[in-house]
């Protein structure tokens, strides 16, 4: 137990833990200190110089994020001296950042504008100095706009410290310093977007598609279908003032309809299909002892990682397409036939917690009869921006359920949004499939060993006397040791982002450890409340799979995929 100590902030006595930083202590006690560069995912850097405080006995002002609480410290957060330095530093930062407010999805919650407004800062004394900076685009997923960068370096920390990809580096020094992709041929971006979800000013961000979607929504001739991912229902509320983890499914649906979508489907339906395809494939591979361990492929950043860094593992990836692509494919085939709509007239927009899903949606090998299963991908942030921009009263809309027949899904689909969820879903259904025709088979629904926020989760389970050695890698930064001993496993799930999709690069900001935990708990809680826990119980999915089975060529196109060696 850390020692409890007494400090004073603005003459108020506060009891806190020794060693906690002042920024954190102040926040906990309802004392506002502004800050831009600090993020609980990283050690404090103290580089933005906004969270300045005056401490008795200190010669200079100090950054509250880097000062640890010691017994007897007396801190002032809002003296004239603090105001003067802090406001000047905000002004200096503002002069680094070229405002592109007109089209910036950040406009509605921009920390720079908030600070300027709060402290009434004149932001026009200095000339913008970064007008000529480059924008680096990473596939169609993420971009780094140098004209907006405030040099906080969070993107580098995200890419190096969390993800251990090391794709971003600092070039030059002083005012010439610039964050750039490395030139090393052996390093490449995996499009996870952790840089974006840690950038305080939208310099690292998703490549926006909301404007294109807005245009297509006006097209009367098209049938506009929205799909939304499992994890976003527990996070999008945060954009509108709700607690992290609040399930907002029935607000998401009417919001999308209000934006102009004709139909709104749940990717959970696709997830149940994915589970069935993957579970079957797992049993087959285990039986034939071929291409083991089988690796999950729902995470497009992980797929890109394998394709670039470990192409030798491509045969190990499951051939099952991801829930997003399954959903899109089923809508453009099965549903199109059912509704008697030409697939060419269907536009599918999926709302994802992810930037790499944009890259996935554009993979040519996924085309079905010449059409992409998903036409546009929006991040949660993009959708929230569209909702706000169109003054849709999210949270107060008349609740509406997802459209049928893709409204029904299992609890297993929901937990796809959390690290370990894909594997648990597959195990639930694999157990069911392996037990088919058997009279006695042990029931197991919860596979708690694979849940949680640890970096690597390992366990062995037995399914109908088949022993499966499992590993779940939570966050690509933890992949190293597992790759080294990959032969020791039969089935491995990898999610590139911390916590899985609930910590994805397209999620609302801030996304912190605490928030990831709340979103994750919400998904497991919701799963527990479902009567239907396994994908194999979803009759509508079984119906679709049966329909596809009759068209073997189409079945393969809709359900399976192949990968590309990108080394």
């Amino acid at each position: 137990m850390p020692k409890k100590i007494k400090i004073k902030i603005n003459n108020k006595e506060i009891i806190c833990e020794q060693g906690d930083n002042i920024y954190k202590v102040a926040k906990k006690n309802g004392i506002y200190i502004p800050g831009l560069c600090s993020h609980p995912d990283f050690p404090a850097k103290g580089n933005c110089r906004i969270c300045l405080v005056e401490i008795k006995g200190f010669k200079n002002l100090a950054t509250s994020c880097t000062i640890k609480a010691e017994d007897g410290l007396e801190i002032k957060t809002d003296t004239e001296r603090v105001k003067k330095a802090r406001n000047l530093n905000i002004e200096l930062i503002f002069a680094e950042h070229i405002e592109k407010c007109a089209t910036c999805i950040w406009r509605v919650k921009c920390p720079l504008l908030e600070l300027a407004d709060r402290y009434k800062i004149v932001i026009s004394r200095f000339k913008d100095r970064k007008g000529n900076r480059k924008t680096y685009k990473f596939a169609n997923a993420v971009e780094l706009d140098g004209t907006q960068c405030i040099d906080c370096r969070n993107c580098i920390d995200a890419c190096s410290k969390i993800q251990k990809i090391n794709y971003l580096e600092l070039k030059g020094k002083g005012i010439s310093q610039e964050i750039v992709p490395v030139k090393d041929k052996n390093t490449d971006c995996i499009y996870c977007g952790q840089c974006a979800v840690h950038c305080p000013v939208g310099s690292a961000q998703e490549q926006a598609d909301w404007d294109k979607v807005e245009r297509i929504l006006l097209d009367k001739k098209k049938i506009k279908v929205a799909l939304f991912a499992p994890s976003i229902r527990v996070s999008i509320g945060e954009e509108f003032g709700f607690e992290p983890g609040k399930v907002m499914t029935e607000q998401i649906v009417p919001s999308l309809k209000a934006l102009g979508f004709n139909y709104v489907f749940d990717v959970n339906f696709g997830a149940d299909a994915t589970t069935m395809v993957e579970a079957e494939e797992l049993l087959k591979r285990v039986k034939n002892k071929k291409n083991l361990p089988m690796l999950t492929s729902c995470c497009p950043a992980w797929v890109k990682y394998v394709e670039f860094y470990h192409p030798e593992l491509i045969p190990n990836l499951t051939t099952a397409r991801s829930p997003q692509i399954h959903s899109g494919g089923i809508v453009k085939t099965y549903w199109a036939e059912m509704m008697k709509i030409r697939p060419q007239n269907i536009i599918i927009v999926s709302i994802m917690p992810c930037t790499a899903k944009k890259f996935e949606s554009a993979r040519k090998e996924l085309k079905i009869n010449g059409l992409f299963p998903v036409d546009y991908v929006l991040t949660v942030r993009e959708l929230a921006w569209m909702i706000k921009k169109n003054r849709i009263n999210f949270g107060k809309l008349k609740p509406a359920a997802v459209d049928n027949p893709f409204g029904k899904h299992s609890g297993a689909a929901l937990i796809y949004g959390a690290s370990g969820g894909v594997m648990e879903s597959a195990l639930r259904s694999a157990r069911h499939l392996a037990c088919r025709g058997k009279k006695i088979c042990p029931v197991k629904i919860d596979f708690k060993e694979v849940r949680g926020l640890e970096g690597v989760k390992e366990t062995t389970v037995s399914i109908n006397n088949i022993k499966l050695r499992l590993a779940v890698v939570n966050c690509i930064g933890n992949i190293g040791p597992i790759i080294e001993k990959i032969k020791n496993y039969d089935y491995i799930e990898v999610m590139a982002c911390p916590g899985g999709c609930i910590g994805g690069g397209g999620q609302p900001m801030p996304t912190t450890g605490e928030i990831r935990k709340k979103r994750m708990e919400a998904l497991y809680k919701a799963d527990k409340g479902f009567k239907m826990r396994g994908a194999h119980e979803n009759e509508n999915v079984l119906e679709v799979l049966k329909w596809l089975k009759k068209k073997p060529e189409l079945e393969h196109k809709v359900l399976h995929t192949k990968y590309v060696n990108r080394k």
Partner: protein
Amino acid sequence: MDILTKIKEAGLVGRGGASFPTWRKWAMVKDALGEKKYVVCNASEGEPGVKKDKYILENYPEQVIDGIQRAMEFLLAERAFIYLNPDYFKELKPKLEKFIGNAKYIELFKKPHGSGYIGGEETGCINTIEGERTEPRLRPPFPTTNGLWGYPTLINNVETFYNVSIVVAGKYKKNRFYTIDGDCLWEGVYELPENYTIERILKETRNYPDFSFFVQAGGAASGEILNSDGLKKPASGVGSIRIYSLEKHNPKDLILNWLNFFQRQSCGQCTTCREGTYRLVEEIKKNKLDWELINDLLANLEDSSFCALGYSAPIAVSSFLKNALPLISKNRIV
């Protein structure tokens, strides 16, 4: 008497600029827990106008290396680095290697070109030796407990190691090395008592000007500007004195020179220094000066920078405005 007591009684303080009591630093590293310990002799000498470290290495390499070895024995350190300014490295390598001889645990480390001023700051120096970007680290933790590769590390200036050696030999006379340059006849490095005032140093070296002048004491970048009324105190910091003739220099050029230096040397880590030094240069270049903004930017550097480079960036300009500019006709700067 043990070495720590000898150093303490001699009253040695750091000669890299900060004047921290040497015995305390040694004791901190000694008391720090660590499987290994390191010693670094800092010969970065990045402050313009200072040449004394080079002078000492050229003339007393044996004593410097002796001082390093004594520190290593005291701390049971396993390796030492002589962290050399790249120009010095080229020139002094053969000589230093000769004196290091078989003591292979002392390594010469060439400070990379471009690592600049901040490469001499303790934590910047540690980052550089570790192969990291040359930038200061957050303090605490201090190098005394978390230095090279996380191990307790003693970093002292060349002159300090030299002093340790002569203290042990019983030859320390409370002298220090002064670099004198600028508008004077007898530029050079002088060894004189540490308590001499600037005025006396200039007189004893026959450099006291017979024209209107001001001096910059403690480094030609971060040193304080003093007029002839302010010379009754010792030369602080790195012990250097640059003399400026009042007539010869354009105030605006001087200010720009100082600010340009810091802008070029700023590592880029913190807003205050990266943006502040740049904006100051831009402001000073203007025809009509916004003194309120300039003063705010100067004060901000001193109060909210990340490291000592930022803190010291405004010293020359601020003290120039206070102590020298009033002697110059105002219309020369606007």
